[in-house]
Amino acid sequence: MSGAARDVPAGALATARAVRSGEVRAHQVSEAALARIAEFEGGLHCFNTVTADAALAAADAVDAAVAAGRDPGPLAGVPIALKDNLCTRGVATTAGSRILEGWLPPYDATVVRSVVAAGAVVVGKTNLDEFAMGSSTENSAFGPTRNPWDPGRVPGGSSGGSAAAVAAGLVPLALGSDTGGSVRQPASLCGVVGMKPTYGLVSRYGLIAFASSLDQIGPFAATVADAAALLDVIAGHDPADSTSLAVGFEPVSPRLDDGVAGMRVGVISDFLADASPSCVAAVRGAADVLGRAGAVVEEVAIPALMLGLSAYYLVAPAEASSNLARYDGVRYGLRVDGPDVTQMNGRTRSAGFGPEVKRRIMLGTYVLSAGYYDAYYGQAQRVRTLVARGFGDAYERFDVLVGPTSPTVAFEIGAKATDPLAMYLSDLYTIPTNLAGHPAVSVPFSLSEGLPVGVQVLAPALGEGAMFRAATVVERGADPQARGPIEPRAAKVAR
């Protein structure tokens, strides 16, 4: 395994400090990021679109603000990559699907406005499983992303392009979306920090919908502090999202270092039964680190969480089948013509959607159809209540919970491509959090045969403060070799 990356731009906070003080120009920072993308993109395929000219222009605007004595924002000059299901005005947004190829959104997602207002510089749109449906980024219509730690392996998914871009040091920050683990699982497999906020904390306006009661946008970074800084920028109420929480959000960054003395930490024993030995060892190691830092650590059994996967694969496809009805060849994206509108719809959707999206649309349509609605969808909603109650009981005794993020390290490209159910099991430990609407974060902790292993810290709704403090302690006790940015092992492509 190669060591720490050379010539990698510094972390997000360090970059912003240097740009704000005038020590470094944002233009240089963006040029360096674009050069590194050009060097490694051919081998990794993290991006669907690189917005080089717009990035340099945005960087120049940051430099002009600094020169004029205006506040350039907390993320001044920091290159950021956006998952390609976040709408960017006038910049192609595909959701990894042929059905949206060539579409130029007429508006920006709220999170895009937030990061730009904070001075961050958007360098491109990252690859993902089509419509965020998958755990490996192999379901992208534009080809898989490769894991920088081993180009024969997946980066996880669905936000695999964002995770790999941060792991390879192409950008210090990225945004993803997490419906059943799509930020945390790729973070774990790529050795970076990835976080899913409390449902409603971050606006979903401009996020291409997959399952609206589960989707949340979350940050990727190499460190907990950088991820916290990005969360602080994107969190907050947005009138454009009717599910946006109208609560005052206390920024997490100022109190990252407050420690865990007296914090009650539960280790979810149900998650340790079937995880691989290296993933179990990482959780035990993280629990020891928290205990030595003064937390009170105990094991806790929450059997209801193990029902989450089944409920999720009924609820999420049901919501997806409804959300994806809008891709009908009428208003945007692909149209394959037909003699009447119904045949046009059918031809368009068959040509535009890939196999995993078709599977989920059909599964969702089935469980919502007459005769099956109550047995499947209604029952899944009741089980969702059981999962939330399981967490609720545990959080009466614990401030945060810890467990594995993924059952395994990164698997080989193609290993699960023909077995959808095996792929779904990758999300076993991340899904319950989405069903309950809670926050959770994956922190790189150890290496197993040269591949990173992440540990997940979970908290109750709006428990981000304690969660990030615990994550900071876990990070300090982790193997520093287990996290990005690294020098990618994928072959460099000559330009």
């Binding site: 029902l307 009908d328 060849g329 059981l386 069903l435």
Partner: protein, 103 residues
């Protein structure tokens, strides 16, 4: 509550594909029937649980209608939106015939 079938049949695939406006090739029907049966058999574990007194959760938040003040605001530009349509004409989306014969 109706009985839950053990698996996903070929007819089920044809039926839901029609509902979902997906044209499938004959070979696809067999493949999806096998895959969806395998998925459904796994997730059907939850259908056997006794949830008699458990209320359903549709959403993690207690949702309420959200209204904005009834004052005019900016909307997306019509021409910019229509420029993204596969086919537009006279300020509208153009589609193939919906009813009956083509004109």
């Amino acid at each position: 509550m109706p009985a839950v079938t053990e698996s996903f049949s070929r007819d089920d695939v044809v039926y839901v594909a029609r509902l979902a406006r997906l044209d499938l090739e004959p070979g696809e029907v067999d493949l999806y029937a096998a895959q969806l049966a395998s998925i459904l058999d796994h997730v059907a574990a939850v259908t056997g649980l006794d949830t008699t007194d458990v209320p359903p959760t549709a959403h993690p938040l207690e949702l309420e209608n959200v209204l904005r003040p009834d004052t005019p605001g900016m909307t997306l530009d019509r021409d910019e939106v229509l420029a993204q349509a596969p086919l537009a004409e006279s300020g509208r989306f153009r589609v193939p015939p919906i009813l009956g014969e083509a004109p």
